[in-house]
């Protein structure tokens, strides 16, 4: 495999477009005759709209139409979430008078200007029949029911954990909690819809254009070919833009009613109410071990919240049975229904909430038996997947521990908590394992060889800031053996070959392998044609004698001749050559388990009186198979770590438990780290050979950065203070008062 560009730390190719404002996001397409829609949300979180009066609002200058559940044109169901539709809530938008969460859309105002629409929205008068709000995991009156998996994955129990736990020499049991979080991408969700007869075009801030296309075709009962979804650039997705939330079909509906292009941009407040968040969780973990650290039993169970009408499972137990070689593991999850919008995927869904618990608990165990935390993890190292009882496709976690510990200076950690002081502050070091399933979804890509010898690769996958354009271009260039400037990657448009949702850290393994495959398909076709074409110098040779190397085409049977791509086309009398490739999903029937692994190391400083925590150093040693682009790869890990620090110390969507309304609906009070909160983050990409997940040998890196970070921080806080905090985010009072 050519290695000219893959792996290099190239800067993002679209950088200049972005810094000059030329990269257009979904709300930025100027369209003739465009009008604006504003969505009105319910003040209550449970009950019904008794009456809704739009007469005053309708009289506002510039108002084109107001739609409520009383006059909404029909919409069909977008079908099941697993059927290729990127839909979210089962209930259709503006379906009826029922209210299940605060902020749920109850009306849509279309007007000539955004200001008219906003003003009219404020004049709509609503009367409600209010029901009591149901909210909060602490509320023991809410029925809990067993959770089913939503992605076909479910963690599997084994052995007899309860019995073995009872018999264990060392027993530790505790409860952990996490709070709700919102993605809060910088770019708000936005959709612009245009109808041309029965054809619909939507510019949508989406991680999954092909899924939105499917969903919209079904909802509006039109053939799939009639829908085009464009999502070139996405200003942050993190899973939140993987589903199609209700404003998308509503934009299309409004455009149909207004007979003009309509744009909807969610307000920052709606970014908390009307798109899914990360569920709250309450988890119990019990670990039984021998005094020498051998794990005997793990019980990991708990509950997360979901919507009144839909199930979403934050699968916090997903990694537990896989992570350590423990003979007895019990995992179980329950759900409760609350008055909130359907929760959704957020960066490392399941791992971000679950790994924090298991990795904190292991730290508790290490302390209890006076063992080094890394030694404890190595003692129970799973050389093969103990859950599925099969080998890992690749696993260099041991090297991550080793390299991370060495580079970080782990040996300088004070064993006994609260004893390391520097400049009046308590110093603590903590570590945790990171893991995230490595996936590959079905994906298509196309390739075209142009007359000038350049290549065009296309896929509907969007560029969501992760560096996809750059990586796909690198892959294309190495596949064809040509310089980067001979390769263009076009993206984010359902006119192109369908890509899966850009999520699950799987774009490289899915779309990347499709791009590679499409390039190889071009070569295969060229070879076939060159041996069949009379005018070709390779006429009559056999296919396997044709070699492609560094942009040159040679034939071992006819060593005197050499073609480049452009002259090959000329010989064939063709202006261009097209090929497609389909990557299969990597799933059942596989004889290997595929996971990314890593180790996080944190140093914190805690003010002994004021309980102020600051993260002083952070290091991650991670594996992701073959690295595609060192720079964007490290950037992914760093971004994940920053979010992990945020999850550990700040982030929480705060609900009023009586009204169900989000209280901190803005970036002023929904705290994420500022620059001063984040230290230098050192990333080591530990070399690893991955042979099973695809030709590229890449495993995906987008989410491994966050999973485990909160545990590394909490463990460091314990090491600094001797205080074990079992709730996220860890607030000043948690340390001050414990």
């Amino acid at each position: 495999m050519s290695n000219e560009f893959i792996g290099k730390g190239l800067s993002r190719l679209e950088g200049p477009l972005k810094v000059t404002g030329k990269a257009r996001y979904s709300a930025e397409f100027p369209l003739k005759g465009i009008c604006y829609a504003v969505l009105v949300g319910s003040a209550i979180s449970a009950g019904r709209v008794r009456s809704i009066n739009t007469s005053k609002a309708e009289k506002t200058a510039g108002v084109i139409k107001i739609i409520t559940h009383e006059n909404r044109p029909p919409l069909s169901s977008p079908g099941d979430r697993l059927s290729g539709s990127a839909n979210s809530e089962k209930r259709l938008p503006l379906q009826d008078a029922e209210i299940n969460y605060a902020g749920q859309y109850i009306a849509l105002v279309i007007a000539e200007t955004l200001q008219s629409a906003q003003h009219a929205a404020e004049l709509i008068e609503v009367n409600y029949d209010k029901q009591p709000t149901v909210l909060g995991l602490k509320n023991k009156n809410i029925d809990r029911f067993p959770a089913k998996s939503q992605m076909g994955e479910i963690a599997k129990s084994r052995g007899d954990a309860k019995a073995e736990y009872g018999k264990a020499e060392v027993k530790l049991e505790s409860k952990y909690t996490t709070e709700a979080q919102n993605h809060n991408q910088m770019e708000p969700h936005a959709s612009t819809a245009i109808w041309d007869g029965d054809k619909l075009t939507v510019y949508d801030a989406s991680q999954y254009p092909a899924g939105v296309r499917n969903g919209l075709a079904k909802m509006f009962n039109i053939p799939l070919e009639n829908v085009r979804v464009v999502s070139h650039f996405v200003g942050g997705g993190f899973g939140g833009k993987g589903n199609m939330w209700q404003h998308v079909p509503l934009a299309a509906l409004a455009a149909r009613v207004a007979r003009r292009p309509v744009k909807i941009v969610l307000s920052r407040k709606q970014m908390f109410n009307n798109v899914g968040n990360r569920s709250e969780t309450e988890q119990r973990i019990a670990i039984g071990a021998n005094k020498d650290g051998t794990l005997k039993a793990i019980i990991h169970e708990g509950v997360s919240d979901t919507a009144m009408k839909d199930d979403f499972v934050e699968q916090f137990t997903i990694s537990t049975p896989m992570l350590y070689a423990c003979p007895n593991v019990d995992v179980a999850q329950e759900l409760v229904r609350v008055n909130k919008i359907l929760p959704t995927y957020m960066r490392a869904p399941g791992e971000a909430t679950g790994v924090w618990v298991i990795e904190s608990a292991l730290d508790e165990l290490a302390h209890a038996i006076n063992m080094d935390p890394i030694e404890l993890r190595m003692k129970n190292y799973a050389h093969q997947d103990p859950e599925k009882e099969r080998p890992f496709s690749s696993k260099a976690l041991d090297k991550c521990y080793q390299i991370g510990a060495e580079k970080f200076g782990w040996s300088k950690r004070y064993k006994s908590p609260g004893t390391n002081k520097r400049g009046g502050k308590l110093i603590g070091l903590g570590m945790a394992t990171a893991t995230r399933g490595a996936k590959r979804f079905g994906a298509k890509a196309s390739a075209r060889l142009n007359a000038d010898g350049s290549f065009l690769f296309r896929s509907s996958t969007p560029e969501q800031g992760t560096g996809s354009i750059t990586v796909m271009t690198q892959i294309g260039a190495d596949c064809m053996g040509v310089p980067l400037n001979k390769v263009t990657f076009e993206h984010g448009d359902t006119n192109f070959a369908a890509a899966p949702v850009a999520a699950g850290s799987a774009t490289v393994s899915s779309v990347g392998n499709a791009v590679w495959g499409a390039g190889k398909a071009i070569q295969k076709e060229l070879a076939e044609k060159l041996i069949a074409e009379k005018k070709s110098p390779f006429f009559g040779a056999s296919k396997d004698q044709i070699e492609f190397k560094d942009g040159a085409i040679t034939c071992s049977a006819k060593t005197k001749s050499k073609l480049d791509y452009a002259s090959a086309l000329k010989v064939l009398g063709q202006k261009s050559l097209d090929a497609k490739f389909d990557t299969d999903p990597f799933e059942k029937g596989q004889d290997h388990s595929t996971h990314g692994f890593g180790a996080h190391f944190a140093e914190v400083e805690v003010d002994p009186d004021l309980a102020i925590v600051s993260v002083k150093r952070f290091l991650s040693a991670v594996t992701c198979g073959r690295v595609m682009n060192e720079k964007t790869c490290k950037a992914q890990v760093q971004g994940g770590v920053i979010w992990g620090i945020s999850q550990a110390l700040m982030e929480s969507t705060i609900f009023d438990e009586r009204s169900g309304r989000v209280l901190n609906r803005g970036l002023d009070e929904y705290h994420i780290p500022v620059n001063a909160d984040i230290p230098e983050i050192e990333v080591h990409l530990v070399p690893e050979e991955e042979k099973h997940l695809g030709a590229l040998g890449a495993k995906g890196v987008g989410e491994i950065g966050i999973a485990g970070v909160p545990a590394a921080i909490a463990n460091a806080i314990f090491n600094a203070t001797g205080k074990r905090i079992r709730r996220l985010p860890i607030r000043i009072e948690d340390i001050l008062l414990s």
């Binding site: 009186d609 004021l610 700040m650 009023d656 438990e657 500022v674 000043i732």
Partner: protein
Amino acid sequence: MKLFSYNKISDTPQAAVASASQHPNAHYIGGGTNIIDLMKNMVMIPDSLIDVSELGDPGIRSTSSGGIIIGAAAKNSYVANHRTVRDKYPVLARALLSGASPQLRNMASTAGNALQRTRCFYFYDTASACNKREPGSGCDAMHGYNRMHAILGTSDQCIATHPSDMCVAMSCLDAIIHTVGKAGERKIPFIDFHKLPEKTPHIENALQENELITAIELPAPLFTDSSCYLKIRDRASYAFALVSVAAGLDLSGGQIRNARLALGGVATKPWRAVEAEEILKGKNISQDVFAAAAESALKQAKTFEHNAFKVELAKKAIIRALAIASRSRQS
């Protein structure tokens, strides 16, 4: 947002007052960083805005008695970086710089900062009951999520904190507010300017209808070298105070001749801990004296479901701030 009229007055304060009186339901606007947010949220719904952001001297001048006068329109960033303020009133410079973000401080005016309204979530959410926003409607914070709320100066009507950092320093510096109103000019001691919520949480200060702040005066500094502004918050910057302390000591050797102590983030108005100051006066510097002052400052604290931690935190912050003030010069 509702339609409103807008007038910019740049000649005299009297003209601004006259303009406000002629317009129905008029409000002044300085940098607009607070009032515009409140208008967008439909919390304040003025019919007219009188822009005073370019009215009067936006700078700082010295007084004959050794103090300074800060123009009402002076920007927070300007004041914070002013040489005289940095040299003679470092506690004010520190307080200003700990507030908001550089962009906001470039917009925010001195008068606007003093008059900024509470960040209580329920005050901002018009679907909630709030006596400050709508007198008599109730207080959803009292039994709601009240982690950010006050533990000092609360009433059964309102427990919202005054959010300003600048005001904590101003209070500690015995500032004087200069105003012009229909009845002419007035000077109001800072400590009397903000009102406790009591039965009327919607009345937040001593200003009469349409009365305009023209300047804030700082008397000659009582302390310079031995002062501290300590702010504790949920992230390293760009967050309101959970607890803040402005401390100033007038020291003679190891003895405290005079002391000033003010608290933010914990009280319904910028809070001068007068009794604590009395405890400090005349004593020798020691942890015990600082601790006694801290105990005294929090003696009246009344906590709510989510904010009990503030008592402990405020005590520790006071001790720390006094210790820093007793050791160092902050600039």
